[in-house]
Amino acid sequence: MSVLDDLLLFTALASVAIIVVRRFASVSKLSVIVYALATVLLVKMSALGYGGEPIYSSFTLNVLGQNLYWRFDSLSWFFALITVVIALFTSVFMSGAWAEKYCQEHSTEAYGLLQAALVLNVLSMLVLLASGDLLSLFIGWELVSWASFMMMFLNQDKVARKAAIKYIVYAMAAAMSILMAIAMTYSMTGSLDYVQIMQAVAHLSNTQIALLVTLYGVGFGIKMGVIPFHLWQAAAYAETPGPGAVFMGAISARMGLYALIVIVVQIFSLTRVAAIEIPYTFLNMQNILAWVGALTTIIPTYIALKQNDARYLLAWHGVGQGGYMLLGVMIADSIGTAGGIMHVFNYATYQAALFMAVTAVMFRTGTSNFSKLGGLVTQMPLTFMVMVVSIIGLAGIPPMNGFVSKWLVYRALLLDGEPLLFVAAVIGTLGTILSVYKLVHNTFLGQLRLEHQDVKEAPLSMLLPMLGLVLIIFGTGVMPGVVLDWVAAAQNAVGIAPITHNLGGIELAQGGLDMIWVTGVMFYGFAVGAIVFYFLGGKSKHIHQFDNYAGGHFLTSKVRYHYSNHFYAGLMHLIGGWYKDFFKKLEQALVSLVSFLSQLSENFYRSAQPAVLVAAVAFIALWFIMSSFSMPADTGTVAPITQGIQGGLPK
C-alpha cells in the first residue's frame, strides 16, 4: 500500500461515509475532518512537491488488453494539493451558519447532497490526477464531469437547470472529442500508456499530431471553457449553491488544464507541437493554442464586465483566467510555463476567497444582484477586506500572489518577443481591473441601502476560511518561492526546464523580481502615506452618507443616490456594439441545424409509404444486379464440397 493508495482509498471511503450520513447534522464536521486528513496524506507525499519520484498506486486493472494504473507525480500532487486544500476551506466555510441556513431553506437532505457532491468531486479529481494512462485519464475525466454535473444539479432553479444541461452537452462533446483522440492515439501508436506514446510520438507525422492536439485540445478546452467553448461555464458555476461555486469556480475547470499539460506538454512536447506549421499562415500549432489562451483572457473578461450579478461576474472571470494559464503554459519556456502553472494555485486561492465573499454577502443579504447591493463595507468590513485582497490578486496587482504569476507570463512573452499576445494579455488584465472594481464597488461601496442597515458581518465559520485564504494570497504573494518550488517540480515532471527562483521571486540578468523587496517598499510607502495622512492633517469627522454633495439637493432614503447601473457607460458606448453574441448565435445556429436535420429525419420516419421506400431500395438493388451480373452457365448444379476443399481454405 503506497500513500497514494491510502489517499484514494481514504477519499473513497470518506465519500461513502458522507453519503451514508448525509441526513445527519454531523456530516459537516465529518467532511472537515475528511479533507483535513486528506491534506495530511498529501503532505505526507510532499516529497513530490520538491522533485520526488512518482508514487504508484498498487491497484491496477487489466481490461481489454489495456493496463490501467494510477500514479501521482509532481504535477498531479500540485493540482491535488490545491484541490484538497480548497475543499478543506470550502468544507469549513459551509459547516457552520451557512449549513444551518441552507438546511432551513432547503432541507438537511439537500445539504447532505451538497456535501456528497463535494466529496465526490474531490474523489473524482484525485482519480483523474492520479491517472497513469489515457484510459484511466478518460475514466477520471468523465467522473469529474459527472461529479460536477451533480453539483450543478443541486440547484433546482430553472436557470440553474438550463445551465446544467448545457454543461452536460458540452461535457459530452468534450468526452467524445477526447474519446476520438484516444482511439486515434491508440491506432497510431498502439498503446495508451504515456511512456510508450511518448516514444511513439517521434514516428508520427505532423498532420497526425495536429489532429490529435486539436481533438485533445477541444476536449480539454471545453472543460476549461476556452474560446469558443466558453458559453457553458459561467452560468453553470455561478448557479451552483454557494460553497459549490467556491469549489468548482476555484479548481474544477483547471482539470482541463492539467490534462492538457499532460497530453500536449508532457507527451507531445511543445517543441513538437510548435513544429506543426499551419498552412497559409505564419502560425504554428503552439501559436494557435497560445492565441486561444489569449482570446480566452479577453472575451470572457469583457463579458464579465457586463454582468450584473456578482456570481456571474466572478464565474466569467474564472473562464477568462483560464486563458492566462493556457497562455502561460503555451509560451513553452520555463518562465512562462511556471507562470501558467503557478496561476492555477494563485487563481484557486483568490477565486475561492472571492466566491466565499460573494456567498457571504448573499448569506446576509439574500442577493448577489448589483442593483440591490451597495455600501456593505460598514456592515461587513472583514468580508470587504477579503474581497479587496482577492481582487488585488485577481487583477494581478502587487503584493498579492496573482501579480507574480502574471508577471511571469508577461516576462516570458516579453523575452519571447510576442507583442500581440502580450497586448492581448494586458487587455485582459485591464478588463479584469475594470470589472473587479465594479464588483467591489457595487457590492461594498457606495450608498448603503435602507434594508441593509442591520446586516451583520459574515459568521465566523464563514469568515475564518476566507481569512485563511487571504493569508495564503498575501503570503504567497510576498514569498512566491514557496509555490515556485512546487511549480518547478511540476515543470520537471512534465519535461520542461524548471524555473530558477528564490524565495522572493526570480532573479534574471535582464530584470528580475523580488516580491519581498517590492512588498517591503510598498508597505514603506503606505507607512509614509499614513504618516502624511494621519499626522499632518487635522482631525476628520465621520459623517452620514446622506451628508453628501448632490448639487444642493437634500438626500433622503427615498431617493437612491448610488451609481451601479451601466457602470462603464462611456466604454460601452464604444465597445457595446462589439458584443454581438457571436458565439451564442453560433451555438443557436448549431441547435437550429440539428433541429432542421432532425425534422428531415423525422419526415423520413413519418412518411406514409414505407413499402414504397423499400421497394425503391429493392429496385435500385435489382438495377444494380442487372447492370453488373450475368448468370453463370452451370446454374442449378450443386457444387461439390470437394471444389471447396481443392480450393483450400479461404485466406
Binding site: 463595507v377 460598514t378 468590513p381 487583477a395 494581478g396 496587482i397 502587487p398 516576462r411 516579453l414 523575452l415 507583442p419 502580450f422 497586448v423 494586458v426 485591464l430 481591473i433 475594470l434 472594481y437 467591489v440 464597488h441 461594498f444 461601496l445 457606495g446 535582464q510 530584470g511 528580475g512 523580481l513 523580488d514 517590492v518 517598499v521 510598498m522 514603506y524 510607502g525 503606505f526 509614509v528 502615506g529 502624511v532 495622512f533 499632518l536 492633517g537 487635522g538 482631525k539 476628520s540 469627522k541 465621520h542 459623517i543 452618507q545 451628508d547 453628501n548 454633495y549 448639487g551 448610488h562 451609481y563 451601479s564 462603464y568 457607460a569 462611456g570 466604454l571 464604444l574 465597445i575
Partner: protein, 296 residues
C-alpha cells in the same frame, strides 16, 4: 553596512525629491496654462500654499475608514513607486522590480483612490472612477505596447539596464521614434490632461473622484498629483531620453517631457469617454505597433 545606509537614504530621499520636483511641475503646469490664456498665473509658491492650506483645514469629512485608507494607499503607492524609478545616483530598488512591476505598482494608488472614492457614496465620484478606469483602459494599451517594444528592444525589463544602454549607445527616441511618439500620446492620457480629462469633468460630475474630498483628503490628492507628474516625466525620460547622467540634465529632460503635454493640453477641449478610447486605440496603438515591427 554602507549599502543599507545608502538604501535608507534612498528610501527617504527619492520620494522627497519626487515631491519637490512634482511641486515645481505643478507650478509649471499652472504657469503654462496661465500664459497660454494670457494670464499671469499663480505665484511661485502657490502649490505649497494650496497643500499647506488643505492640510491645515480645521474640519474635514471622512466617509469611513476606507475613505481614509484609500488616501493612504494613493499617496503611499506613489511613494513606493518612486523608489522603483532610478534617478541620477540613486537606483532605489529598481533592480528588484523593473518596468512591469513599476507599471503595476503605479496602479496601487489608483486602486486605493478608487476604493476611497467608492466609500464616499457619491455617484459623481463613482462615475468619475468608472471613467478614470475606462481612461486607463484606453491609454494603457498603447502605453503597454510601447513598454513592450522598449523592453524587447533593450532585451531587458530593468529600467537601470535600459538607461545604461541608452547612455552607452543612443537615446531611445532616436532608435524608436514611433514608439516614443505613441508613448507621448499615451502619457497625455496617463496624466489626465486635456483632451483626456473627462473623468474629472468639473462642471458635469463635480470633478469626479474628488467630489467628496476635503481638507487633507484633497491635500493628499494634490500630493499625489505631484508624484504623478514626476513619475510620468521620469518614466518617459528613462525609456526614451536616456535618463540622466547628472541632475541638471535629468531635471531638464523631465521638465521638458512634462511641459509638452501641458502645452498641448490647454488648447484642447475634452473628448467624451468613448471618443477618448477610440482615439487612444487608433493612432497611438497603430504607431506603437508599427514601431514594434521596426524594433523586432
Amino acid at each position: 553596512m554602507s549599502t543599507i545606509t545608502e538604501l535608507l537614504t534612498e528610501l527617504f530621499l527619492m520620494p522627497l525629491i519626487a515631491f519637490m520636483v512634482g511641486l515645481a511641475m505643478v507650478l509649471m503646469l499652472r504657469k503654462i496654462g496661465a500664459r497660454l490664456q494670457r494670464r499671469v498665473g499663480p505665484p511661485l509658491l502657490q502649490p505649497i500654499f494650496d497643500i499647506v492650506k488643505l492640510y491645515g483645514k480645521d474640519t474635514q469629512v471622512s466617509h469611513g475608514l476606507i475613505h481614509d485608507i484609500g488616501l493612504v494607499m494613493a499617496v503611499g503607492g506613489y511613494v513606493a513607486a518612486e523608489i522603483f524609478l532610478p534617478v541620477p545616483g540613486m537606483d532605489g530598488i529598481a533592480d528588484k522590480g523593473g518596468i512591469i512591476t513599476l507599471s503595476y505598482v503605479m496602479m496601487v494608488p489608483s486602486l486605493g483612490l478608487a476604493l476611497g472614492v467608492g466609500q464616499c457614496a457619491n455617484p459623481n465620484g463613482s462615475i468619475g472612477i468608472s471613467r478614470a478606469l475606462t481612461a486607463m483602459l484606453a491609454y494603457d494599451i498603447p502605453f503597454i505596447i510601447v513598454v513592450f517594444g522598449v523592453a524587447a528592444h533593450y532585451q531587458s525589463t530593468s529600467l537601470v539596464g535600459m538607461i545604461e544602454y541608452q547612455q552607452a549607445h543612443q537615446w531611445g527616441i532616436f532608435e524608436m521614434p514611433l514608439l516614443a511618439a505613441a508613448g507621448l500620446f499615451a502619457l497625455q492620457g496617463m496624466m489626465g490632461k486635456q483632451p483626456f480629462e473627462i473623468y474629472v469633468a468639473p462642471a458635469e460630475i463635480a470633478t469626479g473622484p474628488m467630489v467628496e474630498m476635503s481638507g487633507k483628503y484633497m491635500g493628499g490628492l494634490f500630493v499625489m498629483q505631484t508624484f504623478q507628474l514626476y513619475t510620468a516625466g521620469v518614466l518617459y525620460t528613462s525609456l526614451f531620453l536616456g535618463g540622466g547622467s547628472n541632475w541638471f540634465e535629468f531635471l531638464l529632460k523631465i521638465f521638458v517631457v512634462v511641459a509638452i503635454p501641458m502645452s498641448v493640453a490647454f488648447v484642447f477641449p475634452r473628448y467624451r469617454t468613448e471618443d477618448m478610447v477610440r482615439i487612444m486605440w487608433k493612432w497611438p496603438v497603430m504607431a506603437a505597433l508599427i514601431g514594434i515591427a521596426f524594433v523586432l
